[in-house]
Amino acid sequence: MESAFFIDIISIFSLIFTLTIIHKRSLKDRNKNYLLIAALIVIAQLIIDILMSVVTVQSQFQNNSVFSLLFVMRYPLSSLFLYYLLLFVGVETLQKKVKIFFAIPLIVDILLNIISLKTHWFYYLNTQGFAVRGTWFFLHAGIDFLYACLIPCFTIKSTMRSHILRETVEPLLFFIVPFVAYDINMYQSSVSIFWALIAWSLLFYYLFLIDRQFKFDALTKVRNRTAFDVRMTLLNKSKKSACLIVFDLNNLKQINDQFGHAVGDSRLTIAASVIESVFSPYGVVYRIGGDEFCVIGKDLCDNRLNKLLNDLNSLIAVKNAYLEFAQLSIASGFSWYSKDISAFQGFKMADTAMYQNKMHMKKQQVATI
């Protein structure tokens, strides 16, 4: 018996734990079913691994057709796992037609695996009843490799927008582990911890996802107050210079009272999307209060910032043309912080600038009436 046997057992427990936790968060992740199926497939693979190590030791189970079939199942199951993971990662970008297109290699792989029972292309059964790689095995490996490369691509695509390096790099680390494990398996086929490593990286990936969910505001899809506080403390330590822009929705309370919370929520969402579309190339947007947003951005100069704010105002005017009632109006103020000023002081300055802007806007409104 190998130590991989015990590793598999520990990994199965961790995966069952992951499954229960995914299952618990029912409302918030609509696409969780893909991840659930993927995790179930990994559990099946781990059980097959354990069975294999038991059969190796105990000869009375060898050459049993049921066990042999189970061992053969590993190949199509691995493609299936990767396909479901791909669906989960790219579910926002994939349309139905594209989904079917991506399923073609999977179907080919499964068919070829079934045919291989007779023709021995992918594998053949040796005298002990184990499946051994056949001459055309590289085809199956190629299909798996194709999927395995597509998954990181989709992940990068979805995380590219964030400007925090940590958040882009972290999910990629998750993909390095299986590749390393695959290499180990290629050179030393006796150490079969491939699926155990996959199990742990799945857990890690899920952790990454709930961490993101915790950082994002459910309504407006921008980062929330918690993320903002963490970022501010980090910035204070790092002593880099950058700019802070604070936004505030005018009249949100009136809109809520007059037209109901649903309308107020929709205005908030519009405001967040407008701010993000203008400032996302330059910084990260946070929702720091009920009607307050903040952008932490690169060190931009005065003129550039004013130009961006003008862009924002013109975009709001465009949006307002479509809104029949409860029109948007956003007050803004900006400030910088550097080595001399702490991030919190910088924020305070931006906040006061915003309030001045708000007062100014109110005066203008009164004047026009």
């Binding site: 130590s3 015990f6 520990i10 427990f13 961790s14 742990w200 915790f214 963490v230 980090l234």
Partner: protein, 372 residues
């Protein structure tokens, strides 16, 4: 039996360990109390390294390897007590009281001295050194204290998390403790492999994830659900158009208590009020903590008379509790009911503000009554 096979599981344990260290870094930024996790993880790292080193010396013995491996074992014995001791700090608030603090610390100190003593008595009368299962016959006596700590930790945790209303976190918690238990059993069955500590490492990571996941939905201080869960459930009610009754509770005098007697007393006040609310409204609906001193209960629709009886029952329960307590509780309650199903345009948050208004009126009345 090769060295690689012997320590293979421990080697693999570095995967969960590194994940756990990553997670503890994330947790540290948000919650200071979780620094104990980081300490526990560092101890785990030390235990794993010492264990592997010891295995190396046993497989390739030199003249000094006997003493070194004994020293490593004794270091591990000390750390393996310190580990559950630190974990205890995470999950409980037993550490306010000075006497219990000492009582919990006592076995730890005992183990520390026994380990040092043991190092000396074992080195001079040398025991034979042939068996591959190198935990000697003193081991079970040794393992008793850390095992006791673990059992205590598990007992406290089960007591704490099983008192939560939502039953969904019971299974994961049992899974964590079950998996570590199975690892210990496997260790007994296959003494040629090092399994226990790897199992503990993975258990520790799973426990941290459990903690992390719970924090998304629960207020860990009081054990009721938090604002995030409240808003999620409110929007679900709005979506499904369920008929609801909303109760709002406000703990009076919290600020005064915090200022005059310190935050410890204020925390106790909050915990007690949460307990009272849970006790009475347990069968009615879910409780949420929606502010520093504000709680809310969402329940199925009930008529005004029925709601009033519940509130009376609640106030009676509070006054019954007050007879025992030094600091009397006083909680203002307001409620409001709505037929969302019939009146489709109605907003659930409007009901919320109605209930809030009722609660404030109740508070005013109470203040008036006291001043009279």
């Amino acid at each position: 039996m090769t060295l690689f096979n012997h320590i293979g599981v421990d080697l693999f344990a570095f995967v969960p360990l590194s994940l756990a260290i990553n997670l503890s870094y994330k947790l540290k930024l948000e919650n200071r109390n979780t620094k104990y996790f980081t300490h526990a993880l560092l101890m785990m790292l030390q235990i794993l390294l010492c264990e592997m080193l010891r295995a190396y010396f046993l497989f390739y013995p030199t003249t000094w390897s006997y003493i070194i491996s004994n020293a490593l074992l004794d270091i591990n014995n000390i750390t393996s007590v310190a580990l559950p001791y630190t974990l205890l700090k995470v999950s409980t608030n037993l550490f306010h009281d000075k006497q219990t603090k000492l009582l919990i610390k006592l076995p730890f100190i005992m183990q520390f001295f026994i380990s040092i003593f043991h190092f000396y008595i074992r080195t001079f009368p040398p025991v034979d050194f042939v068996s591959t299962y190198y935990l000697d016959h003193y081991f079970f006596y040794y393992a008793l204290i850390p095992f006791g700590y673990y059992i205590f930790f598990v007992y406290l945790d089960i007591k704490k998390y099983f008192s939560y209303e939502n039953k969904k976190q019971r299974f994961p918690l049992l899974l964590i403790f079950g998996s570590t238990l199975i690892c210990v059993i496997l260790q007994e069955m296959y003494p040629n492999y090092l399994i226990t500590n790897a199992g503990l490492t993975s258990g520790l990571l799973l426990y941290m994830i459990f903690f992390f996941d719970l924090k998304l939905d629960y207020d860990l201080q009081t054990g009721v659900q938090n604002v995030n869960a409240f808003h999620a459930d409110m929007s679900e009610i709005q979506l499904r158009k369920k008929d609801t009754t909303l109760f709002i509770f406000d703990v009076n005098n919290l600020k005064k208590m915090n200022d005059s007697r310190g935050h410890g007393e204020g925390d106790k006040l909050i915990e007690r009020s949460a307990l009272c609310i849970k006790e009475v409204f347990h069968f009615v609906g879910n409780a949420y903590r929606i502010g520093g001193d504000e709680f809310c209960v969402l329940s199925k629709y009930m008529e005004a008379a029925q709601a009033e009886t519940f509130i009376d029952e609640f106030q009676a329960y509070v006054s019954q509790q007050n007879e025992v307590l030094e600091i009397p509780l006083s909680i203002a309650v307001g409620y409001s009911s709505t037929h969302l199903f019939q009146i489709r345009t109605k907003d659930i948050y409007k009901t919320f503000s109605e209930a809030d208004e009722n609660m404030y009126q109740h508070k005013k009345q109470e203040k008036k009554g006291r001043s009279c």
